[in-house]
Amino acid sequence: MIPHVFNLQNCLALSLLLVLIGSFGVFRRHSLIMILLSVEVMLNGVNLSLVAFNYFRWGTSETSHYLYMLSIGVAAVEAAVGLSMIIVLFKNFNDITRERISRLGERSA
């Protein structure tokens, strides 16, 4: 007997775990590209939850499929802007680790 796993709560748990894994990447990674990549992992989780909600609960219209499209559109733009900023950063510093972007801040007096 196969356990019943394909249900809303498991989909939500999966998506939240993805969000958590992604945010862990945001804290852990040093390379700015990798931080952006971790955000994509988070976004993947969010999209999953959107579609899952639509299927399991509100199957009268594909509203969240549309929201998914918006979400990847935004993700694309964010990636484009972020990556071009990273390239600029690389041009200026020849380095893209996050230590490069920690100069503004309080210098201890």
């Binding site: 945010s23 945001v26 996050r98 920690s102 100069r103 801040g105 309080e106 201890s108 007096a109």
Partner: protein, 662 residues
């Protein structure tokens, strides 16, 4: 008269202030002085015109409403001016002294660098004070309240290039801001209780409601009290008054004697119904007033700077007003407010004259005998001292107002927070402390009239550098070295007028018991039934006698350098166990030293400890604490994005978790 003219009373000096602030640096000095004086004179003229409008006493108040100023859904604060007997008296006081002091300043500041700024601040101060006095709602009062604090800051900081002056000005302003915030919180509390900020509406509906919500009413009363304490320099928010002496002397006279410091008293008198229903607030006023009274008098004894002596004497006189308010007699407090304004302005302006004549020397030990060369100033100083000590009835403003305060105290009862005591106790403490005031005032006068060669010390000190520093010195500006004499006619004229005013006030403030009419009482309380008046009973005469004898003794002791040396010797040489009967004049000196001087000295040291160190220390500690927190929080501002992200995520999780648990 058309009520619209009321608006012009604060507006005239306000406009002049704006004019001088913007274009003062391009105008010649005489024009600046003329504009500044004329605008205040205009206000004074208007106020005098309103005196004839039948407002005095029980007359009909005049109201001017220019529509809402701040109006939201919840509330309205109108641009509403209200002229009743009390506010007319206050207007008279403010515009009259404001005028005199502006004229005086024209003489005093002739050689200053930033005259435009000075007179702009002075005018703005008068405007703010007049707004405060005329306002019918607490928001408008707050406008004036904040305005006088700001001007006080500007004026105290006038010599900003001198070391310590910016800091002193800032400290004064900061304590004032504490008061402003407390005031604002008090206004908010009253608003949340009554739904209005208009004084007249509050007075109408307040007493009934306040009786129901006693807790919140008491909170409001206490918060407003905090504001009044800061403005009127009552312990523990008094620390700024001594700092304020860093400003030019006319400023000290205007702000720190006659007008600004009385704002707190005025506010409490306006809200006396609120304090009538909260005995706790009155108890706190009484206790703080007592502390301020005693500390002020003791500190005045311990000072050698002429302006600081007067400043601390102001503290203790303000405390007297608050004590009268605590006793529930706003009339007595206000009466002393006016009396005090008369003699303290006189004293400060005379002191200013002395300081100008003595080339900005302020140490009384070096000013010995200066007054002998300054006849008008001398007269003014003497009258002021007599008023301040309340020595002679009918003369010099101080006697009847002090008697009124004492009278109100002797009938009061104080209770709250589980303690209760009779006003008699306070009465006796005040009586005793008043002896101190006689001592320090006449000690000061004795010094200034001493038989030492007039201004020897000053002339000696100023002599050598008189020529060398002439070219570039910035504030030793009234001649250098040279003979000590009164030069400015403006200063002399103002002193002369003030002497007359002090006499006049002494006469009109006389109460029935002494055969006078008690006009002042009737005017300031708006025609309320006059109390029976001070009865010339035995106690009054005995105290009067003691005071006069003490004054003469003090004057005698300090006006001769030999006797002064004797007194100082007693104080200095006092050591236990090193005396013999003969050399010690049969122990008389020692008894004197042991019984009087030592306790006084000890108390003075104690009060210095408390006044200068503890209260200032608490403030400083607060500052350091804030700084410390700030530096601590700074550690979290690392500039590392991932750490910020951690913070954001943590906060979001907390939010979600908290919401999920609800």
């Amino acid at each position: 008269m058309n009520p619209t003219w009321l608006l012009l009373i604060p507006l005239l000096p306000g406009l002049s202030a704006a004019l001088l602030a913007l274009f003062g640096s391009r105008l010649p000095y005489n024009a600046i002085g003329a504009i500044a004086s004329a605008s205040v004179a205009g206000s004074l003229g208007l106020v005098l015109a309103f005196c004839g409008a039948g407002v005095f006493g029980a007359g009909q108040p005049i109201d001017f409403e220019a529509g809402p100023w701040i109006a939201t859904q919840a509330f309205q604060a109108g641009l509403h001016l209200h002229l009743d007997s009390l506010s007319l008296c206050m207007c008279l006081l403010v515009s009259f002294f404001g005028f005199l002091i502006t004229v005086y300043s024209v003489g005093y500041m002739r050689h200053d660098k930033e005259q435009g700024r000075f007179f702009a601040s002075l005018n703005l101060f008068v405007a703010s004070m007049l707004t405060l006095v005329l306002a019918d709602n607490l928001v408008l009062i707050f406008l004036g309240w904040e305005g006088v604090g700001l001007c006080s800051y500007l004026l105290i900081g006038h010599y900003w290039e001198q070391e310590d002056v910016p800091l002193a000005a800032f400290r004064a302003f900061f304590v004032n801001r504490i008061g402003d915030v407390l005031f604002l919180l008090g206004v908010f509390t009253l608003f949340s209780l009554f739904g209005t900020v208009s004084l007249s509406e509050l007075a109408l509906h307040g007493p009934g409601l306040a009786g129901i919500h006693t807790g919140q009413a008491a909170l409001g009363a206490l918060l407003l009290l905090g504001g009044a304490f800061a403005k009127s320099a009552q312990a523990p928010l008094h620390v700024w008054l001594a700092d304020a002496m860093a400003g030019p002397t006319p400023v000290s006279a205007l702000i720190h004697a006659a007008t600004m410091v009385t704002a707190g008293v005025y506010l409490l008198a306006r809200l006396d119904w609120l304090y009538a229903v909260s005995p706790e607030a009155r108890l706190i006023i009484c206790l703080c007033g007592l502390v301020t009274l005693i500390l002020g008098a003791l500190m005045a004894l311990a000072q050698t700077d002429i302006k600081k002596i007067l400043a601390y004497s102001t503290l203790s006189n303000l405390a007297l007003m608050f004590l009268a308010l605590a006793a529930g007699s706003a009339g007595a407090g206000l009466m002393h407010l006016f009396g005090h304004a008369c003699f303290k302005a006189l004293l400060f302006l005379a002191a200013g004259s002395v300081i100008v004549a003595a080339h900005h020397e302020q140490d009384v030990r070096k000013l010995t005998g200066v007054l002998k060369k300054l006849p008008v100033t001398n007269a003014a100083f003497l009258v002021g001292c007599i008023g301040g000590a309340g020595l002679i009835p009918y003369l010099a403003a101080g006697f009847f107002s002090k008697e009124a305060v004492l009278e109100s105290l002797s009938e009061a009862e104080f209770s709250g927070f589980g303690i209760a005591f009779s006003g008699r106790v306070v009465f006796w403490i005040v009586t005793a402390v008043e002896l101190l005031s006689v001592v320090y005032l006449f000690r000061l006068y004795g010094y200034l009239r001493s038989d030492t060669a007039a201004g020897a010390a000053v002339a000696g000190a100023a002599g050598p550098d008189a020529h060398g520093s002439k070219a570039h010195d910035s504030h030793a500006d009234h001649g250098h070295g040279g003979p000590i004499k009164e030069k400015s006619p403006a200063i002399l004229a103002v002193l002369g007028i003030l002497i007359l005013v002090a006499f006049a006030f002494g006469i009109v403030s006389a109460s029935h018991g002494f055969g006078g009419h008690g006009d002042v009482w009737r005017l300031i309380t708006g025609g309320a039934a006059e109390p029976e008046g001070v009865k010339p009973d035995a106690h009054t005469f005995i105290m009067l006698g003691i005071n006069i004898v003490l004054a003469i003794a003090c004057f005698a002791a300090f006006s001769s350098s030999k006797r002064r040396a004797g007194v100082q010797g007693i104080v200095k040489n006092f050591r236990l166990g090193s005396f013999g009967p003969l050399s010690r004049k049969f122990y008389f000196d020692d008894v004197y030293a042991l019984a009087i001087i030592a306790p006084l000295k000890g108390a003075a040291y104690l009060s210095r400890l408390v006044l200068e160190n503890i209260f200032t220390g608490v403030l400083t500690m607060g500052g350091w604490l804030g700084r410390g927190f700030s530096l601590g929080l700074r550690r979290f501002q690392t500039g590392k994005a991932h750490q910020y992200a951690v913070a954001v995520l943590m906060a979001v999780f907390l939010l979600v978790f908290w919401l999920g648990g609800k």
